[in-house]
Amino acid sequence: MSRRIASIAVLGLLLIGRGTQAAAAPALLPQIVPPRLLSEVGKPVPPRPLFDSSFTASASGGYKVKVFTFGSAVILEVDRRDRRRFSAAVYLARGVAVPRRLQATFGNFGKVSMRFRPAKNGGQSLCRFGERLSRRHGTYVGELDFKGEDGYVAIDLHRAKGSIVTPAGRCPRSRHHLTRAAAERAIEALLEPASGLAANARDGVATTSFLSIKRKTGAAFLAFHQETHGKLAILRVAIVRGGKSFHVNEAVTTAGVSPPPPFHGTGRYHAEPDGTSTWSGPLSVDFPGAPRFPLTGPDFEALIDVPF
């Protein structure tokens, strides 16, 4: 996955992990994490890029649009976030992904064709996770014309400030050294028990996942959907922290959840004595470009995990 997409996925897991610890409960993790995310385990990692070309611009609807490269893809991400909520639509296309040029067509939604012009004094050196990076600031010039599904976001620009980041060796160890206390705190957080309710559906190469995590420190909800249309892949994600977590009966046979916006409605879990379960109700989520996206139905496989 791209670093950005990975960051979205990982953000979800971190969100869970930070306040929750899904990552921690070994028995819980494989069950509650959407299979789409778990499936990454053991797969080859996409080639590490030798550069990271990107620019960001404000767009209509309060969204930010970021265009960047990863691996063999040119990626356009539309996102909106605040302290507790994050939602994004990520469009992946094949195109020209070289350090000073970003070029791709995003199906019927639009296209990008931009060239990088470095600023005269735009160089900067920084450290990230023990790696020294060289960032070159400048301006992308060309054309970005993109209009999302039903015009939920539109952007038409010809210049944008951006950068190219390239690896430049390693940083001194001291800069990224975890203290023992910090490491212990991280492990403790991971081992804190959590409850999880997950529902996953697949239709061909399209997958949809809903995840509700309950921890002592609060609740978190994540919805994820991915699909491909010809030579365009679209990933959508919505994450929210806070609100009232799912409630489950003592026998762990029924549960319900009503997450805060951008989610709507209620999802209801019901387990039968034979081990089968149903996941129903009017639960939906507003993804960027896909409002009221249904998160329940007969295609979903739901499961719940509540520690003793």
Binding site: S39, P46, P47, G71, S72, A93, G204, V205
Partner: protein
């Protein structure tokens, strides 16, 4: 394959070197699958008689791992000048990427394998190669390999023994495929050839966009470990992809590499081996 396990290790199952019913399989027209018996509710149906011409070009791949038994994959015999080319998945011969390890030791193709029976004998590999990009990047979009095998115990070439599928390159992704393979991971046991007939092209894996190479192909077929490298044929007996991987959820499609220029180069290299 499923859960991205490239190879499934199986205990060795020595079996008699004879065909089903005690004799070498003569060409017979038998229904490819068992109608009305969808075992495990799977669409990966058991081939009744793998020795018939349309199925005997497909076989099981065994890679001896010493005390660890055998790794299992699937493969398909392909028509070629040397009559000895087998196509399979890249990870069935090399783990991929710059640090990829070769599985050169005791790699063998057993066409029409069934319950330990080897009706056409065993064809040990004498040459293995993958696409250059599979070795360079480990990109699953290039997860294809070819083997050139030696003669069987009767001194026959692979082509003489079972024939071979045609092979096609640079076709449109949208095809109706027939997926073959020897799934060994549960609920299967790797002892029978299986086939998903008329598996429609579903699209590309979104992950495929991030890796170098042509976007891969998805079809619906309940593959599990061991089916890696199984041939995807079109129009009867033309090979147009091989099984590469699936995800851990039950409804996951089967993903295979697109046969483009790089696979064509691999075929040319294999065909030149004498």
């Amino acid at each position: 394959m499923r859960e991205a396990k490239p190879l499934e290790v199986e205990a060795p199952r020595p079996g008699p070197l004879r065909g089903p019913d005690g004799q070498r399989g003569a060409p017979r027209r038998i229904a490819p699958a068992v109608p009305g018996r969808p075992d495990f509710g799977s669409d990966f149906e058991q081939v009744v008689d793998p020795t018939t011409p349309e199925f005997r070009i497909h076989g099981a791949v065994f890679v001896a791992l010493g005390i660890f038994g055998y790794a299992r994959c699937s493969g398909t015999a392909v028509r070629s000048g040397n009559e000895s080319v087998v196509f399979t998945a890249g990870h069935c011969v090399n783990s991929g990427g710059r640090r990829g390890r070769w599985l050169r030791s005791r790699w063998a193709f057993v066409p029409a394998y069934r319950y330990g029976q080897r009706p056409f004998g065993i064809f040990p590999a004498k040459w293995l190669d993958t696409t250059r990009q599979w070795r360079a990047s480990g990109s699953e979009n290039y997860d294809v390999a070819a083997a050139v095998v030696g003669r069987n115990q009767r001194g026959e070439t692979l082509g003489e023994a079972v024939g071979g599928a045609g092979i096609a390159f640079n076709l449109k992704p949208k095809q109706n495929f027939t997926v073959h393979g020897y799934p060994a991971a549960e609920p299967f046991d790797g002892e029978t050839q299986r086939v998903c007939a008329a598996a429609e092209y579903l699209g590309h894996d979104p992950d495929s966009f991030l890796f170098p190479g042509p976007l891969n192909l998805a079809v619906h077929c309940d593959v599990t470990g061991g089916a890696s490298g199984g041939g995807w044929t079109i129009d009867g007996e033309t090979l147009d992809s091989v099984t590469d991987y699936g995800y851990s959820d039950d409804k996951s499609p089967d993903f295979g590499a697109y046969f483009g220029k790089e696979v064509a180069r691999l075929y040319q290299r294999a065909e030149r081996v004498r």
